[in-house]
Amino acid sequence: MNQHRILVVDDEPQIQRFLNPALTASGYEVILASTGAEAERLAATSAPDLIILDLGLPDKDGKEVIETVRAFSEVPIIVLSARDREAEKIASLDLGANDYVEKPFGIGELLARIRTALRQQAAGTSVPSRFEANGLVVDMVKRIVSRNGEEVHLTRKEYQLLVHLVLHAGMVVTHRQLLASVWGAAHVHDLQYLRVFVGQLRAKIEDDANNPQFIRTEAGVGYRFIAE
């Protein structure tokens, strides 16, 4: 098995104390860093396949680390953050972090996020021509969407929205990222558009729009497309 190397950046020894054995037991190679500077150095020199980053570091803000790392690497970054620091989460995602996990978290959740991120990374930039999950089919060549065999008619924006979410399946996409990709950079603050279009999209592809299976809301942050 081709072993992935994960860089864990956290200054709390208690967190490292369980992350290290858990990740090792799951088949990953773990390297540890407890400061921002150390993290940046290790990210550059030891070529990790994924970084788990706590935002509260003793020497610098975790967001700075994301910026520095993104300057030279597209390595997936999963941010560990507390629920009440919403702005920080969004800022991290907009800076290039791939996903986040709220503290306290179960190890299963983290492992799932790690797998998704690694899979996305492996898929690289090649856009799949077809996506299929739980009866939902998105044919990106013919631009046809069907649900349980029946074609679903989407408007252009709805389709673009769905494709963007599907391409990031399993990962959180911030409001800002969605707005910028579907409506353009000028509309990154027009949250209202997004709410309306996501609502319409859910009505068309979900069994129960009030209890969505595909498009989950990440409160205050964005949306996550669930493919499993």
Binding site: Q14, A22, G56, P58, D59
Partner: protein, 893 residues
């Protein structure tokens, strides 16, 4: 066409008036021609009807004059008790305005509009009381007879021969929302009088016989009817304007009324007022003076006159001009005046025989404008022009002595030099004397000097000598020219001198104001601004100054100069009036004029910021010049207050933001401290559950241990929070008993060692350590907190714990050898949530330990303090002192 559209739009001014009226109470005036026509009766009858319909109507004051029918009407109507007022030993009953405002009915009846209040009341006049009620949004019904109207008072006097003392300004009636005429034909009124149904106050009874003549009553009735009809007209016009209906209202007439300081002008104003009201025309009253005699007699007279004009509903304007006719012409053209009203005093013809009177000149100048000339004898105090005003004796002596001396000396010089200087050239020397007199003592001296020079020159230097006769005709000619030149030069020099004096005075004022504003601009604190203002005003006007500003919703004295000034209750009423109404109050005003203060609102861009009080006890009223100075200073003060308040607001905002930031930091720190152990526990548990089989046994053990440790940490944190809450809520009760401190110290050390194995703690406890008064568990927790704290910051050195008796106390010290605490932070370390190292990357802890420790120790009656550095520039020492338990305490339960 566009013009047409413009015209048909509702007049915005009219709509604004309407809007103002809607928040104001409505004034209804029951107008009668004479006493006894039944105004009060009519008013009460109407009130009863409204009351029966459920209206909230109360009687503020109704004069029944002992008439049974009227008194019966009062039955069942709510009344406000009258106020008893002591005045010169007599107890008088007055309308209680405060009670009325407190009751705040929808409608209140306050009879006798022209009534003059007892001195010492809030307002001198009842119509001012009513104005305040209206302002409070209460509808008022009141009653008056037409003879009390200001513009009619002289007419009434001329008709009836009775002088009307209690006067109501026309503007009151004009502003009334409704005027109801209570009419009774004269014959019926006289009949009622004969039946004794008309009440007349004691001293009026004598006049009554003359007053209640059919002719008088008919004339008064006509006045009342006409007034009411005028109002109906006005209302009609208002209605048309509000609804933008084209109508024939615009008479287009505009009156210009020219007045001066002479006593006839008052009559001119009254006449013009009637004329304007008859023509339904707007009228402008212009006062004309040649100089700006600020603060002088002229100015005061004009003030009074323009005040009267304003009360009668005129616009007023003050004009200083040299050429009256030209100025009047200019104003008339600009204001589209159609008629001019001007007075010609009968005595004027003699006053200035060389000049044509003003009316004549106006008539000559205007060809297309009607000119009304009001003639009459000067009434009241005749006007004395300022130049003729009495000078002080010294001034007068100087004004005469100087020209006598100057011309005398010139004569002597001339005599001495007559051999070398030709007599004709000596006239120049006399001119010098005239100019000198004019420059030093003004125009009067110049005229005297010119006269004397004329006589002396003639007497001593012109042939025949020592004789006032003149020999040669050409000498007569030159002598007359000399006199003319002397008079002219003297006059000019005198004027120049006056102007110089005025400019100097103005420059002084400007300089003072400039100094003041410079002083103010250097102060940013409100207190300094107020003190600067008070001291400056005190030195400018030489009188006591107070400044009041709202504080906690109450106006309170902020600054006084001299500092021992105080205000009494009546003064405060005036202060509040000035503050709330943005109007002057106190002496020289219509509100509480009897008090020894004048209060002026300080108006800033944010409204009235406060009130400035000027003591008028030892000082005459403010002159116009003083007034202007005061206004300028107040403006400066207002700006400075604005600025000071802005500075203060800024500081407050900054402090608020700082505290906001602190709160945010606190919450994030709390959340971090709670979540980190939770995250560790959750992470470890889920790892064990999901991956347990794949993990080595010793790692599993470590994970389990970490769960135990983190749970313990969480527990301590929560316990700390609870303790803090108990201390803050004041529910912490130490169970203080004699306890063995040594035992508690040892057990705390043991507990610490269990948590942090391998920590070095040096312990030294005095063998004879007495029992202390305290709570064993609280003391134990405190010591544990301090030890825990020490282990976190100790560095590598050992922790030292000492305990010994120190007088009536036991001192326990815990010393670490860490980095220590900078002196500036020593005070803060006992504050709640205070942690010296900020951010995530610090030693774990709640920031509560020390704060809780202090709470505990204080509840045991002890003290706790920190010292740093403790040893060799390093470390921190905490010292706890607890009272030694004595036998008395031991006996206590």
């Amino acid at each position: 066409m566009a013009d047409q559209g413009q015209k048909n739009r509702p007049d915005p001014d009219k709509l604004l008036q309407l809007a103002a009226r809607e928040t104001r109470g409505k004034l209804t005036v029951f107008l009668g021609a004479a006493p006894g026509v039944g105004k009060t009766y009519a008013m009460l009858l109407r009130a009863r009807r409204l009351k029966e319909d459920g209206a909230d109507i109360v009687i503020g004051l109704a004069e029944t004059h002992g008439r049974v029918e009227t008194a019966e009407l009062l039955d069942g109507l709510e009344g406000i008790p009258r106020k008893q007022v002591n005045y010169r030993g007599k107890v008088l009953e007055e309308f209680d305005i405060d009670a009325a405002i407190a009751r705040k009915p929808k409608i209140i009846i306050v009879d006798e509009l022209p009534h003059t209040n007892v001195p010492g009341s809030r307002h001198p006049k009842r119509y001012q009381d009513i104005e305040e009620l209206l302002w409070q949004g209460i509808d008022v019904w009141t009653a008056m007879n037409v003879q009390h109207l200001e513009s009619l008072s002289d007419v009434v006097t001329s008709i009836t021969g009775v002088t009307v003392r209690e006067i109501v300004p026309d503007i009151v009636l004009k502003r009334a929302d409704d005027v109801l005429l209570v009419d009774l034909p004269p014959a019926e009124l006289i009949a009622r009088l004969k039946e004794g149904k008309v009440y007349l106050p004691g001293n009026a009874e004598r006049a009554a016989v003359g007053f209640f003549k059919p002719a008088n009553l008919t004339a008064l009735r006509e006045l009342a009817l006409r007034r009411t009809a005028d109002r109906v007209d006005d209302q009609m016009i208002d209605l048309l304007r509000q609804n933008a209906i084209e109508g024939p209202w615009a008479t287009g007439e505009r009156l210009l009324v020219c007045v001066g300081p002479d006593s006839l002008s008052e009559k001119v104003v009254r006449t013009a007022s009637r004329l304007a009201s008859g023509l339904n025309a707007r009228w402008l009253v212009v006062s004309l003076t040649q100089t700006n005699d600020a603060g002088g007699e002229t100015s005061k007279r004009l003030d009074k006159l323009l005040d009267l004009a304003e009360r009668l509903g005129a616009e007023t304007r003050r004009v200083i001009a040299q050429d009256f006719v030209e100025e009047i012409f200019r104003i008339a053209r600009r204001e589209n005046v159609t008629q001019i009203v001007v007075g010609r005093p009968k005595s004027a013809r003699f006053a200035n025989p060389f000049r044509r009177s003003l009316p004549d000149e106006i008539i000559k100048r205007f060809t297309d404008i009607g000119v009304h000339i009001v003639t009459g004898e000067e009434q009241g105090t005749p006007y004395v022009p300022p130049s003729m005003r009495k000078r002080t004796r010294l001034e007068l002596a100087k004004a005469i002595a100087l020209p006598v001396a100057a011309t005398g000396v010139t004569t002597l010089l001339g005599l001495a030099a007559s051999d070398i200087v030709h007599a004709q050239n000596l006239s120049m020397l006399f001119l010098v004397a005239v100019i000198l007199s004019a420059m030093i003592c003004g125009r009067l001296s110049a005229v005297i000097a010119a006269g004397l020079a004329f006589v002396f020159y003639n007497f001593f230097f012109l042939e025949p000598l020592h004789d006032l006769s003149i020999a040669k005709p050409h000498q007569l000619f030159s002598l007359i020219i000399f006199l003319g030149v002397a008079l002219m030069i003297g006059d000019l020099a005198g004027r120049l001198r006056d102007q110089v004096a005025r400019s100097r005075n103005q420059a002084k004022n400007t300089q003072a104001l400039y100094e003041f504003s410079r002083k103010l601009s250097g102060t940013a604190r409100l207190d300094d601004v107020l003190i600067s203002t008070a001291t400056h005003l005190h030195s400018t006007f030489g009188t006591g100054i107070v400044i009041l500003m709202p504080y906690d919703g109450e106006l309170s004295l902020q600054t006084a100069w001299p500092p021992d000034l105080t205000l009494d209750g009546t003064d405060m009423t005036a202060v509040r009036w000035a503050y709330e109404k943005n109007e002057r109050a106190g002496s020289d005003t219509a509100t509480l004029p009897q008090i020894g203060w004048q209060f002026l609102p300080i108006l800033t861009s944010n409204g009235v910021a406060g009130v400035l009080g000027l003591s008028t006890q030892n000082r005459a009223a403010l002159g116009e010049n003083d007034d202007r100075m005061l206004t300028a200073i107040l403006d400066q003060t207002a700006i400075a207050i604005d600025r000071a308040q802005l500075v203060r607001e800024n500081a407050k905002t900054a402090a608020l933001q700082e505290s906001d930031k602190l709160h945010t930091a606190l919450f994030s720190s709390l959340s971090h401290d709670l979540k980190t152990p939770l995250a560790s526990i959750t992470g470890a548990v889920t790892t064990l559950r999901q991956l347990g089989s794949r993990i080595k046994a010793d790692t599993r053990d470590d994970l389990l241990l970490s769960i135990e440790e983190e749970a313990g940490r969480l527990n301590r944190f929560v316990a700390n929070l609870f303790d803090m809450t108990r201390i803050e809520a004041g529910t912490l009760k130490a169970n203080n008993l004699p306890v063995d401190a040594a035992e508690i110290i040892l057990s705390s050390i043991e507990r610490t060692k269990k948590l942090k194995p391998g920590i070095a703690i040096d312990t030294s406890i005095a063998p004879d350590l007495p029992m202390v008064n305290g709570d064993a568990s609280l003391l134990g927790q405190t010591l544990f907190n301090l030890l825990d704290n020490a282990t976190k910051y100790a560095g590598d050195g050992p922790i030292a714990v000492y305990a010994k008796q120190d007088g009536p106390e036991v001192a326990i010290s815990i010393t670490d050898q860490g980095r220590g605490i900078p002196p500036k932070d020593l005070d803060k370390i006992f504050d709640k949530f205070y942690r010296r190292v900020k951010g995530d990357g610090r030693a774990p802890g709640t920031g509560l330990g020390l704060s809780i420790s202090r709470g505990f120790i204080e509840s045991m009656g002890g003290t706790i303090k920190a010292e740093s550095p403790a040893i060799r520039k390093r470390g921190t020492r905490f010292i706890i002192r607890l009272p030694v338990a004595n036998s008395d305490d031991e006996a206590m339960p």
